[in-house]
């Protein structure tokens, strides 16, 4: 096991560099503790492996792999503290947050492969030979391993593994324990505060493994049933599988650049809002994924009407998505942009830059052409609180409908939502629009903020809050 961990940091092939990075990590006091525990763990693992070969017990070997897993998790912890010190480089433009994920994935997969080896060994040996297990150091080994594992788990704050174990779906071991404890709490209600919260999977598997080893010891001591050793080795291996599998699935999904399923609802709402912005025809090619544990990155293509202001739309789209997606790229595109606009319509994009100043933003270039009621263009609030909330396009309803429905209908089928039954077509947008106008509420940007802090919170933005700022588009439209 000692041979594998240097290659986590694969990008450091030169030993000198490795040493330098190591020095960087050890400059932090907190990592000293991790190193101390790592040394203890190595010692403990060595002892356990010796006892394994002396007792010839497969179950103890399977349990020792959990200790080795603890070593991996300590290494992951070191990596995670290294990652926080590193800035994104030119080659690794997203930073090294993913290294944490990769370390978690690699360690869970390695432990599962170890369990697979145990299973294989048992498969080979089960029908053929009955190995004699000596129970001498079995119990001692069990308790030493359990003690060290729990000590490591509880005293080292392991950020990545804590995150994964909380975010990943619960393993079958957890489900069963939850089920059992629920029925137990039916009998003794006082235990509910202890038993009902979700169990830490690592503590759980350590306890379960120790329990099965104790049973093995008892049965071997009392009845000399040597087959129990095999059975409990298989059981520990299966439990290891069950515990590690959800975590490796979770981290593997991050590595596969998938959209995390818990933010999909939130993203959908944001995208829907984006597509109701004035001038936006559709959003497509949207890719959202997590860089490390937690921070989203993403890109999307937004198709807009030919006469819409690209920079304004870009600013609004970015403004909507940025609270949730921290690394965002939005490509604005227009169809037929080479063809000149029809005569009579003003193109706003090539318009000269407005004069800058403290109020530079407040004076758009085209404001002089607009009626005086709307000539006080503020970015996000209606200009006059006493006036009714501004509507979108009610002065030119026919044009608006045509603009929204017709071009979008052509691209509706190409959108990625088509296959999923989420009709992002034109008509829902129209419905959204009218609905939104009818209910002027609080601007939803506030809810974005709260939602950003805790992405798993129930979604709180109103589906149809018209952002007051949407009214501003009118002013730029001739």
């Amino acid at each position: 096991q000692g041979t594998i961990h240097p290659f986590r940091k694969t990008h450091k092939s030169v030993f000198g560099k490795l040493k330098q990075e190591f020095r960087l990590v050890t400059s932090d006091r907190r990592s000293w503790r991790i190193l101390l525990f790592g040394a203890l763990n190595l010692l403990c693992t060595g002892c356990l492996l010796m006892w394994c070969s002396s007792t010839n017990s497969m179950a103890l070997t399977a349990y020792t792999y959990l200790t080795i897993f603890d070593l991996f998790s300590l290494i992951t912890c070191l990596i995670s503290s290294w990652v926080t010190m590193k800035k994104p480089s030119q080659l690794y433009s997203f930073g090294f947050d993913r290294l944490e994920v990769l370390a978690v994935f690699a360690s869970t997969v390695l432990v599962q492969l170890g369990a697979l080896f145990i299973l294989k060994e048992r498969c080979v040996c089960l029908p053929l030979t009955h190995t004699q297990t000596h129970s001498g150091r079995l119990l001692v080994g069990t308790f030493v391993a359990l003690f060290f594992n729990l000590l490591t788990l509880l005293s080292v704050r392991n950020k990545p593994f804590t995150y994964v174990s909380e975010a990943a779906s619960s393993s079958w071991l957890q489900e069963h324990v939850a089920d059992l404890s629920r029925s137990l709490c039916g009998v003794i209600p006082g235990l509910s505060s202890v038993l009902l919260p979700r169990m830490n999977p690592f503590v759980l598997i350590n306890m379960a493994g120790a329990l099965s080893l104790c049973i093995t010891y008892m049965l071997i001591e009392i009845n000399n049933y040597n087959a129990v050793d095999t059975a409990s080795a298989v059981a520990i291996a299966l439990m290891t599988f069950g515990t590690m599998y959800p975590m490796s699935v979770y981290s593997g999904k991050v590595l596969l650049q998938t959209t995390p399923s818990h933010v999909i609802g939130q993203l959908d709402k944001l995208l829907r809002e984006v597509s109701t912005l004035e001038g936006v025809l559709e959003v497509r090619n949207e890719h959202f994924w997590t860089v490390g544990f937690g921070s989203l990155a993403g890109s999307a293509h937004v198709r807009i009407r030919r006469d819409a202001n690209e920079q304004l739309v870009l600013a609004h789209v970015t403004n909507r998505l940025l609270p949730l997606v921290s690394t965002l790229t939005v490509q604005i595109f227009k169809d037929d942009w080479t063809r000149p606009l029809l005569s009579g319509t003003l193109s706003s994009s090539p318009s000269p830059v407005p004069p800058l100043g403290p109020e530079g933003y407040a004076i758009p270039p085209s404001s002089s052409a607009l009626p005086p009621l709307l000539s006080d263009p503020l970015t996000s609030t209606p200009s006059k609180p006493s006036s009714p909330p501004p509507e979108f396009a009610f002065d030119t309803p026919g044009r608006n409908v045509q603009q929204v429905v017709l071009p979008a209908a052509g691209h509706h089928a190409h959108g990625p939502y088509g296959g999923l039954g989420l009709a992002y077509g034109a008509s829902p947008y129209a419905g959204m629009l009218s609905q939104g106008v009818a209910r002027p509420g609080m601007p939803s940007s506030q809810s974005y903020r709260t939602a950003f802090g805790a992405p798993t919170l129930p979604l709180r933005f109103g589906t149809s809050n018209p952002l007051a700022s949407q009214s501003q588009y009118r002013q730029y439209q001739p």
Binding site: L91, Y92, N285, E286, L314, A315, P352
Partner: protein, 727 residues
């Protein structure tokens, strides 16, 4: 409903009695005759009670054929069941039959975690019976399994059990469990037929009749060819009648009544407990002189000594059986599966049953297999892997069977190792299949990256193998064991041939695509493999394009196996010729190091891709492309250039550009896209920003702060708007 419970308990006690009785009878009566008499007797009684011909609608010809099939199946099941009874005694039979009823429930609701726990307990209980039940008598019986075979059927069953490698008495348990599983499936299948025929009772009556008819020719042949061990049939009439009444008829009727009058789980629970306790009691007292009056047959003394007795394993497994049946028969809490969605206007909670909806939409398994096979065969990569996997599996099974045949431990364990290695192939195949799946909402870029992850996992796999081989060979260097080299040569030659085929297939496919093939070896326990030429491979690392980590991983495995076989041959020769026992561990030490070294490039590449590094082979192109972008007319600068390889044939990228205000954005986007496309980026998002964008953004963000302030100080809202908005 206390009377129903009493009725149920009495029936169960009678049933236990009947099982014990039939065990005694089966010692003298041939099993086929026994079943025939049972079926015939119950058919006569049931015909009398049910009158299936005079009542109800007539049975068509098709239904008769179905009935015939039904009867044949029920005959097979009862044959298996009673044969198990003869093998392992009545006590264990009554244990296993207990779970039958609850098992039927379990088939309906497997999804619940409590139910799976129950099933696991049941399996543990069976394993307990198999492993820890050290019945002395059974061991005695096992000594002469060929002793008293009456017919071809029993002989066949005995040989089948012997082939399974299980001891004779434990074969009985296996048979019982098999018949139990068959029975559960049979019951669900017969439900439709019972509706068609018109009621379960009518079906039962007709079924008994038809199976008696089916068994009739066999019985005639049997009684004509073999002489009976029965002294007088007349003394058997009473016990037969008792068995027919208790096991076949009374139980059936009472179960039917209780199931309608009480809820099924409760009924099953009471029945199970009653059967357990009565079986335990009977097992204790059956050989007791007190029960001699109960027993209608007097046994010779020597047979009394060979009764199946109670043992610790039976008690343990009984506890497990009771727990399993109580868990399985408890009502499943399906409501907990749903997730709370919200509350209805009336205030009642609304649940969302995701699982059910998914189950309904998922396609059937055969169809899925067929589709996947078709997809596998469509593309070159996956086709190669699939064919090679088939070849490998075939070789493995031949090896395993031959190993079992010749009882060679080495062959069997090598076969298992091969099977283990096939898992890497399966992983590769699955990844190659998944790669072509369509992009979904979650996998917005498509599944191409699965291939890289699978390559990474395969790399880790080889690392673990290398580690274990290393540890093993270090211990062997210290203490070289004596190796029997007889079987190794033919096996390794066979493996070499198989793997050479694979090498040919894979290298043809991928020699041009990548030079970064390392090789590794895969050590098989005591048949240590070694190989000579592995250094050549990762010299040309730095593959130009189309890196397919998955295929590389698979190739590594295949190459490893090939060279491993070569290594075995070499080390065998060395040991035979010179007697260098240390050659074997040294060889495997060498192999482990080589595996390790050769996997590193694969792991390194996969890591780089997974960590979203700028693709190494496009690095220069991308840098020059960025320089070119800076020189485009109107472009001021760029920021946040992110380029990464998503999958083998997709390089994705995002970039933000700052341009002058009087330039058309779309033109810039077009130019930049073209430039980066030349550099290999084929999934690009360009964000074009002008000065106006930053003004808008700053304007919007002041709006943000204002809104926050507004919510905090509601009373001064107007003032704030007037005061801060202008800014």
């Amino acid at each position: 409903d206390i009377q129903y419970i009493v009725l149920l308990v009495v029936t169960k006690v009678l049933k236990a009695l009947g099982i014990f009785e039939s065990y005694d009878i089966l010692k003298v009566v041939h099993i086929v005759q026994f079943i025939f008499i049972l079926k015939l007797g119950s058919a006569v009684i049931l015909l009398f009670f049910q009158k299936p011909f005079s009542s109800g609608k007539a049975i068509s010809k098709r239904q008769w054929i179905k009935l015939l099939k039904h009867a044949v199946f029920s005959c097979i099941i009862s044959l298996l069941g009673f044969f198990g009874l003869t093998l392992c005694g009545p006590l264990r039979v009554s244990y296993i039959t207990v779970v039958e009823v609850s098992n039927m429930l379990f088939c309906c609701f497997v999804c619940d975690s409590a139910q799976t726990r129950g099933a696991a307990l049941f399996i543990i209980a069976v394993i307990c019976l198999l492993l820890f039940d050290n019945d002395d008598l059974m061991a005695k019986m096992a000594e002469h399994p060929e002793g008293h075979h009456d017919s071809a059927l029993t002989h066949f069953l005995y040989t089948a059990i012997a082939f399974l490698g299980v001891a004779d008495h434990k074969g009985g348990v296996v048979l019982l469990v098999a018949s139990l599983c068959l029975k559960v499936g049979f019951h669900t299948a017969s439900r439709k037929l019972s509706v068609e025929i018109g009621g379960a009772k009518r079906l039962y009556a007709l079924d008994n009749l038809v199976s008696a008819v089916v068994l009739l020719p066999w019985v005639i042949v049997l009684s004509a060819t073999t002489e009976s061990k029965v002294e007088s049939w007349s003394s058997l009439i009473l016990p037969f009648g008792m068995i027919i009444l208790s096991v076949m008829i009374l139980e059936f009727y009472v179960e039917a009544i209780c199931n309608t009058k009480m809820e099924t789980p409760r009924c099953a629970r009471y029945g199970a407990v009653a059967l357990f306790l009565s079986a335990l009691l009977l097992a204790n007292f059956w050989t007791h002189p007190l029960t001699d009056q109960l027993r209608s047959m007097s046994k010779p003394a020597q047979q009394l000594s060979t009764e199946h007795v109670l043992s610790g394993g039976v008690i343990v497994s009984a506890v497990f059986f009771i727990m399993a049946s109580s868990i399985l028969s408890s009502p499943s809490k399906k409501g907990q599966k749903g997730t709370l969605v919200g509350y209805s206007p009336e205030g009642t909670p609304l649940y969302n049953f995701m699982g059910d909806a998914l189950q309904h939409t998922s396609q059937s398994l055969p169809r899925f297999i067929k589709d996947s096979l078709k997809q596998i065969l469509e593309e070159y990569d996956s086709r190669q892997i699939f064919y090679f996997l088939c070849l490998n599996l075939a070789f493995t099974f031949v090896e395993l069977f031959y190993g079992v045949w010749t009882n060679s431990l080495g062959l069997i364990s090598d076969g298992f190792h091969m099977l283990f290695d096939c898992s890497a192939l399966v992983l590769g195949l699955f990844a190659a299949l998944m790669t072509r799946w369509k992009a979904t909402r979650i996998f917005s870029y498509g599944y191409g990256r699965v291939e890289i992850l699978s390559g990474f996992i395969n790399g880790l796999f080889l690392m673990v193998i290398a580690f274990f081989v290393f540890v093993e060979s270090v211990t062997r260097v210290l203490d070289p064991p004596n190796i029997n080299t007889d079987m190794l040569t033919p096996v390794s030659v066979g493996g070499l041939l198989v793997n050479l085929v694979g090498i040919c297939a894979f290298s043809h496919a991928h020699a041009h695509a990548h030079g970064g093939k390392g090789c590794s070896s895969n050590d098989h326990g005591h048949s240590h493999h070694g190989h000579s030429h592995s250094e050549h491979s990762h010299g040309g690392h730095g593959h130009s394009h189309g890196m397919n980590a998955n295929m590389r991983g698979v190739f590594l495995h295949v190459l490893a196996d090939t060279l491993g076989s070569v290594g075995v041959i070499i080390s065998t020769i060395l040991i035979r010729q010179f007697g260098w026992l240390i050659a074997d561990p040294l060889c495997s030490l060498f192999i482990a190091t080589l595996i390790f070294l050769s996997v590193i490039p694969l792991l390194k590449d996969a890591c780089e891709v997974l960590l979203l590094r700028i693709p190494q082979e496009n690095e220069k192109d991308l840098n020059s492309a960025l320089e070119k972008i800076e020189k485009i007319e109107g472009v001021l600068s760029y920021r946040d250039p992110h380029f990464w390889r998503h999958s083998a044939n997709m390089i994705a990228g995002t970039i933000h550009l700052q341009i002058m205000s009087d330039v058309v954005e779309q033109r810039i986007i077009q130019q930049v896209t073209a430039i980066l496309k030349d550099a290999g980026v084929n999934n690009l998002s360009v964000q074009v920003e002008k000065e106006a964008y930053f003004q808008h953004m700053s304007g919007l963000s002041t709006g943000f702060q204002e809104v926050l302030a507004m919510t905090q100080q509601m009373e001064s809202m107007k003032y704030l708007k007037d005061g801060t908005c202008i800014m």
